[in-house]
């Protein structure tokens, strides 16, 4: 296998992992604050369609990315108002949000089906990535670098900063956090908004970078993978990165295998491979630790209303 092919595989791997990584990272912060938002897929789709619509109409990918973030936040706020202010059931509301997102994106996207735009290009000048191996380092678009920076940022925020400590405290024991005097609901609003922003951006990565063309249900269930990754990574940003890239790697392998016409494995089994491999690896990493139950934020999914 030549370097060029290997590098192009790496490029595909990174690109296909990035939207999952973004959405999962956002959901990780949401869950750390004690909120379970199952509507990741819906928020991704809203971000995807908003990003595409704006990029198509204005011709600016940058504006498209901004729009996707805003759309993700707006969708997340619907969830936040229902579950945090009106203490609706988070699981039911999250599922409804997914359906809402699918419908809304179909509606808005109806006029754009099959339309294409210029895809999001690499951030560094082409001269830097002439050599194939340099391309693997410098040939990615801005969102890829942003997502990696966000992994570091979220990890640092949660473990090293006071606001991060407070956010974890709210997810760990909302009643205590309230008793000490932290604004539980406000903090959860902020976390849910952050989750929406990253899910929206992750969705837009599909429509602006991966397949710069609108198609219905473009995200193809990646929001659910993101949700599962958060759990299997034990709410740790570093493992999330590993999980997302592992998923991307096996998926790329699957595509390569298909393209190469390998027929001795049933295509259904190949299609399952990314899911199985990711779950197997992340589960094995958590094996043998007795403190498993302490990984999950203790108040995850529980409604809170100030007494």
């Amino acid at each position: 296998m030549s370097d060029a092919i290997l590098v192009s595989i790496i490029m595909t791997l990174v690109a296909s992992s990035t939207p999952i990584l973004l959405a999962a990272l956002g959901e990780l912060v949401v869950e750390k604050s004690g909120v379970l938002n199952l509507g990741v897929e819906g928020m991704m789709l809203c971000g995807a369609v908003a990003g595409f619509a704006v990029a198509f109409s204005t011709g600016s990918i940058a504006l498209g990315l901004v729009a996707s973030v805003l759309a993700g936040i707006a969708t997340a706020m619907v969830f936040a108002v229902l579950t945090l202010s009106l203490t609706a059931n988070q699981v039911a509301t999250g599922l409804a949000l997914t359906i809402f997102g699918i419908g809304t994106s179909s509606l808005i996207g109806a006029g754009f089906v099959g339309k294409t735009i210029e895809r999001l290009g690499p951030v560094f000048p082409a001269a830097l990535s002439e050599h194939p191996w340099l391309r693997a380092l410098f040939g990615h678009d801005i969102v890829v670098y942003l997502s990696l920076a966000l992994v570091l940022g979220v990890s640092w925020f949660l473990s090293r900063t006071r606001p991060g400590l407070i956010l974890r405290a709210v997810g760990e024991n909302d009643a205590s956090a309230h008793a000490i005097g932290y604004p539980v609901i406000a903090i959860r609003y902020a976390a849910v908004a952050f989750g929406g922003a990253l899910a929206g951006l992750g969705g837009a990565y599909f429509s602006l970078a991966l397949t710069p063309m609108w198609a219905d249900r473009l995200t193809a269930g990646r929001g659910w993978i993101a949700l599962a990754l958060v759990v299997f990574s034990a709410w740790k940003p570093g493992r999330l990165l590993l999980g997302a890239y592992l998923f991307g790697a096996v998926m790329t392998f699957e595509l390569q295998a298909k393209a190469a016409g390998i027929s001795w494995i049933a295509p259904e089994v190949l299609a399952m491979a990314p899911y199985l491999a990711t779950i197997a690896v992340l589960t094995m990493m958590s094996l043998g630790r007795k403190t498993g139950r302490l990984d999950a934020p203790a108040c995850l999914g529980k409604p809170f209303s100030a007494p």
Binding site: E172, N173, G181
Partner: protein, 519 residues
């Protein structure tokens, strides 16, 4: 008493409440409560379980908002919309139900209790200083879920002391401390008060209030029913003011004509829950029909581990290590042990002994279904469950709106009464309880102790694990001490002096037959 700032009559009181009222659905928790606290005064708030003490201090600390009335701070009317506002005024509070975060370390928990961001190293230094000057042992790097209740409480106390408060509110701070620890805490509190800080002190232990407090305000049913000087009033008189009637004494304690062993534990060893659990080492004892066996010890010496080993939450290595009525049960699960007649009550009521979000009736099913026909063939008989819960509520005078009330809505003592009633009501052959009267008022504590004595008199074996020596001496026929996971051989209570036990509990072994002899 020498002239100190607190005696200046012209100065406005540090804190003055007037006509504070607060209602919850179905209860008036506070009604027209007025009281004032001078600078440097240690002021007790007394009252039965559910009298509204916690509610009142939560209003002062800004956790809850009064429906009516006003609060004056140093003579100026203030509103306290949040705990943060309270802390800005200089009010600190140690909660009855700790506000701690289990999965976080001690130092993180302390940092969360501070309003300003403090550099980690600086905070560590400050915490170390406070720990040292009040001689409180506590490891800042441990995670809270690995700590005993007593240790958890120290976190709360340190949190407050770091803020150099002007008014310190303590809601039942000594429930889980040993006599020595209580003495040390009192020295600390007196020292703080001498520096001009006022203290609002809630406790059910009236002798503590006599020893510590300058004034007492007594609540009953949410209203002030009197004030007194605890230094001159007898504890009995204060208890009667609280409950509004005469206090009963326990009858029939120490009358134990002990029969055959119902619970026999032999050479029970079990590694502690990593990383910080206490290892149980070769524990052997017998609890006989008709007797109450007391187990004393400082928190964190293996009591929790012993209770989980007995209850079946953790299984021992060989079945013969625990024999129940002659049958080996050490490797059978909690449900089977309950069915066979071994009931256990852990010290942590919310979350371990009861599910906070379940109703009392549902909580009753959880343990009582093994011995009472509440859910035959897996189908719940709602009528029977409700009747059983209602019977417990009635017999133990649990103050609540009924069997449908969620466990978390009950005041601490009332939930304890319900849990004790649930277990005693099943008439188990062996009952193991940890801190049976923790946070329970004097009247109700007497009722619970009486029920334990009665249960033993009917032929059950009762094991009481407690840090309250007075309680153990009042109840138990025989007493052992648990220390670093080892249990001393039991001794008849009649032969023991309280100082001896206190020393054994503190780990200072003066006697050859003490725990040290086994080490």
């Amino acid at each position: 008493m020498t002239a100190s700032p607190r005696d200046r009559a012209d100065a406005p009181p540090r804190l003055a409440l007037s006509q504070i009222s607060k209602s919850f659905p179905g209860v008036k928790a506070n009604e027209d409560i007025s009281l004032s606290v001078r600078a440097g005064e240690i002021h007790a708030v007394l009252g039965e379980n559910g009298a509204g003490k916690s509610t009142l201090v939560k209003i002062i600390y800004g956790v809850q908002q009064a429906d009516g009335g006003s609060i004056a701070w140093n003579g100026e009317t203030v509103s306290i919309p949040s705990p943060k506002a309270a802390r800005r005024l200089g009010i600190g509070m140690v909660f009855q139900h700790f506000s701690l975060f289990d999965a976080m370390t001690v130092i993180e928990n302390i940092a969360l209790g501070l309003d300003e961001a403090v550099d980690r190293d600086e905070l560590k230094a400050r915490v170390a200083k406070v720990l040292e000057s009040y001689s409180l042992p506590l490891d800042p790097e441990r995670e809270v879920h690995t700590l005993s209740v007593g240790e958890r409480q120290r976190i709360e106390i340190v949190r407050c002391l770091l803020q150099k408060p002007k008014l310190l509110i303590m809601d039942e701070p000594t429930s889980v401390l040993t006599p020595q620890e209580v003495d040390r805490l009192f020295e600390t509190l007196r020292q703080i008060a001498a520096q001009g800080c006022s203290i609002l002190y809630i406790s059910h232990k009236l002798h503590e209030i006599k020893a510590l407090c300058d004034t007492a305000t007594i609540l009953r049913g949410g209203r002030v029913v009197g004030t007194c000087d605890p230094k001159v009033e007898t504890t009995r008189r204060m208890a009667e003011l609280m409950i509004g009637s005469e206090l009963r004494s326990i009858e029939g304690a120490h009358g134990g004509t002990a029969g055959m062993a119902r619970l026999a534990v032999s050479d029970l060893s079990m590694p502690g829950e990593p990383p910080f659990g206490t290892h149980l080492k070769e524990i052997s004892f017998e609890a006989r029909a008709g007797e109450i066996l007391g187990i004393a010890g400082v928190a964190g010496n293996g009591q929790a581990e012993l209770l989980t080993a007995l209850s079946g939450e953790r299984l021992a290595a060989s079945p013969q290590m625990i024999m129940l009525d002659g049958k080996p049960v050490a490797t059978t699960g909690a449900g089977e042990r309950r069915a066979a007649g071994l009931a256990c009550v852990p010290e942590e009521r919310n979350g371990h002994a009861a599910v906070p979000d379940f109703s009392l009736a549902e909580n009753a099913i959880l343990t009582a279904r093994y011995r009472l026909p509440l859910a035959p063939q897996g189908f719940i008989r709602l009528g029977a469950v409700k009747r059983f819960a209602q019977a417990v509520i009635g017999r133990f005078d649990v103050r609540t709106t009924g069997p449908a009330a969620p466990a978390r809505a009950l005041s601490g003592g009332n939930l304890q009464k319900f849990i004790m009633g649930r277990e005693i009501g099943q008439e188990p052959g062996v009952l193991v309880v940890s801190q049976p009267t923790w946070g329970v008022d004097a009247g109700a504590a007497a009722a619970i102790r009486q029920a334990l004595v009665d249960l033993a008199a009917k032929g059950s074996a009762v094991v009481v694990i407690s840090q309250d020596l007075d309680e153990l001496l009042e109840l138990a026929d025989r007493l052992c001490v648990i220390n670093e996971g080892r249990l001393t051989p039991p001794r008849a209570v009649a032969d023991l002096k309280i100082e001896e036990i206190g020393l054994m509990m503190g780990g200072i072994h003066g006697q050859p037959e003490g725990a040290a002899a086994h080490a």
